[in-house]
């Protein structure tokens, strides 16, 4: 395709259109997308390396990092397990209602993050379904760590499944069927045939899920009761520092999340190049 395009003669007007459009697209991306990313790091290092290290090693920040890692450690493995089960069911079998199931899977994407937090207040909050019972037994879920974990789980449910489904659908059933015919058990087939095939999209799904779990703001802001000075995750700590006019501190802590999202992008690109290379090789 590309060779053919380059072999075509380019008219002077065509050249002008190409240069103007490319310049406009690059300028737009630089101003709207690159500048916000760049600003995070420039502001984070406003007071040099020492200011940066001091900001991210503050006790409150360290506590926020711990809670964020705890929430991710609960949400990511469970949602990975779910993602594999959902992808196996949806991509390897045909059954009535499959399209409804796929739509349901997208709900956490479609719902406002504030609502994702609110639903847990409605269930576990003092005015909620289980609130009075939990209160009587001295268990706190909302405005405490369990609520943050639940909200993080809710918003990251679809990520692994969403990465796996198209990949597993494209692969079809033949390889698994061959393994079964040759006498492999169901689990053997999954571990030796399916898993090696999907390992890259599974890895990417897990990384994406982790990035989202650590960066979630709206849902977690509701259940943390941040106005009451409750428990904080990294994004909430960023907000608190920013509202306290500690801009350098806020951007220093924010840069941790930004680094994770940049790493996610790089891994995604490496995977895409690898899969296009292996396709070229075939």
């Amino acid at each position: 395709m590309d060779e053919r395009r380059q072999n075509r003669e380019e008219t002077p007007k065509g050249r002008l259109v190409r240069i103007v459009l490319t310049a406009a697209a690059l300028l737009f991306l630089a101003l709207f997308v690159v500048a916000p990313l760049l600003l995070v790091f420039v502001n984070a290092f406003d007071k040099g390396w020492q200011g940066y290290v001091a900001a991210i090693s503050e006790p409150d920040t360290r506590a926020a990092i711990r809670l964020t890692l705890l929430a991710a450690a609960a949400a990511v493995p469970l949602n990975t397990l779910f993602g594999i089960a959902a992808a196996w069911s949806i991509s390897k079998f045909d059954f009535p209602g499959k399209n409804i199931l796929i739509t349901l899977l997208d709900i956490p994407f479609a719902v406002s993050p504030v609502i994702s937090g609110l639903i847990f207040v409605l269930i576990f909050g003092l005015q909620g379904w289980l609130g009075p019972w939990l209160d009587a037994h001295g268990i706190q879920i909302v405005f405490a760590a369990p609520g943050i974990i639940l909200a993080t789980m809710f918003v990251t449910v679809p990520f692994v499944a969403r990465e796996l489904i198209p990949h597993m659908q494209a692969q079809g059933r033949e390889e698994e069927e061959a393994a079964l015919v040759l006498g492999a058990s169901g689990w053997q087939t999954f571990l030796r045939v399916t898993l090696p095939n999907i390992k890259w999209s599974l890895l990417y799904g897990v990384i994406l899920c982790t990035a989202r779990a650590t960066g979630e703001y709206g849902a977690v802001a509701v259940v943390s009761g941040h106005t009451q000075g409750g428990t904080n995750t990294i994004p909430l700590q960023v907000e608190i520092l920013y509202n306290g006019y500690d801009s350098t501190g806020a951007f220093a802590v924010a840069s941790l999340l930004t680094l994770l999202s940049v790493a996610t992008l790089i891994i995604k690109k490496i995977m895409e190049w690898q899969s296009s290379r292996s396709n070229d090789g075939n």
Binding site: L21, T22, A25, L26, L29, F32, V33, V34, P36, L37, L39, V40, N43, F82, A85, A86, W88, S89, I90, K92, F93, D94, F95, L101, L104, L105, I107, A110, V111, S112, V114, I115, L118, I119, V121, L122, I123, G128, M153, F154, V157, L180, V181, G186, A211, G215, E216, Y217, P235, V238, E239, Y242, A250, A254, L257, T258, S261, L265, I266, K269
Partner: protein, 276 residues
């Protein structure tokens, strides 16, 4: 169902059962709480909350800014997708990766960063200030934040279609005497339309529910820059759970309508792709 009988793969019951249980436990039951809570409230008071002038102002801002941001993204997203699919230039792979930044960057980080950029003393804000343009803490700021989060939806939907577009059809149009613009508007745009529309509606749907990237740059001024998601937060801060739930119900209904519309659109564009 017919094919299932021939399917020898195991684990259908286990995987589907686990999927349904998990979805019910973590998504469906929690979500139904919103509707059940609203249904248990006094209908008149729910109506009063969701039609109060302050909320109506937030609907107008949320709908208007979401729509405008999706239109702007359709235009700029098409431009970026076009350049990435059609032209080669140094660093193209990096530029292609950059398009995904808004997907990857946490919303609160994006929100703070955009606020700092467009604040009166920020990198962009100080020059816009000289021109008499205010972005931070105005509805223009809401628009900028929503454009940021929505851009990849358009690019990633349009780009593959542009890449697959048959070059010969365009060459045929050109050789039959069509101008560059005629070829674009009569041949290319109709082919792109389903994917462009899908990208547009995904960006629009995302903008409707967006919270983190907007609340910092909007400044949340009463009647002026409060989005509907913020109003839920505002009610919760006042410990008005029924009020928050009533607003959430309105937003959920809007989200489900959008989800349905997007699924129909995607099904249509799939048919279109298969037919062509």
């Amino acid at each position: 169902m017919g094919r299932k009988r021939n399917n020898i793969l195991p684990g259908f019951g286990l995987s589907t059962g686990f999927t349904l249980t998990y979805l019910s436990l973590f998504i469906l039951i929690p979500l139904s709480a919103v509707f059940l809570k609203t249904a248990s409230e006094n209908w008149a008071s729910v109506w009063n909350v969701v039609t109060s002038p302050r909320l109506v102002a937030s609907y107008k801002l949320t709908l208007g800014a979401s729509f405008l941001s999706a239109v702007a993204n359709a235009v700029f997203g098409l431009l970026v997708a076009w350049v990435l699919a059609r032209y080669s230039f140094p660093g193209k792979r990096i530029v292609d990766a950059i398009v995904d930044i808004p997907f990857a960057l946490p919303t609160a980080v994006a929100g703070l960063s955009l606020t700092a950029l467009y604040a009166p003393n920020g990198w962009f804000g100080r020059y816009l200030e000289m021109l008499g343009i205010r972005v931070a803490y105005t509805s223009a700021g809401v628009l900028v934040a929503l454009m940021f989060v929505g851009l990849p939806f358009v690019v990633r939907n349009v780009q593959p279609v542009l890449q697959d577009l048959d070059f010969e059809i365009e060459e045929a149009a050109r050789s039959l005497g069509a101008t560059r613009w005629q070829t674009f508007s009569r041949v290319i745009v109709p082919t792109l339309l389903p994917s462009l529309l899908t990208g547009f509606s995904l960006a629009f749907a995302r903008a409707l529910g967006e919270y983190g990237s907007v609340v910092f740059i909007s400044g949340n001024r009463v009647f002026e820059t409060e989005i509907t998601s913020f109003m839920i937060m505002n009610k919760l801060d006042q410990h008005d759970v029924p009020g928050a739930t009533a607003i959430a119900t309105v937003m959920l209904i809007a989200s489900f309508v959008m989800l349905l519309a997007i699924n129909l659109l995607q099904a249509r564009s799939r048919r279109y792709m298969e037919a062509s």
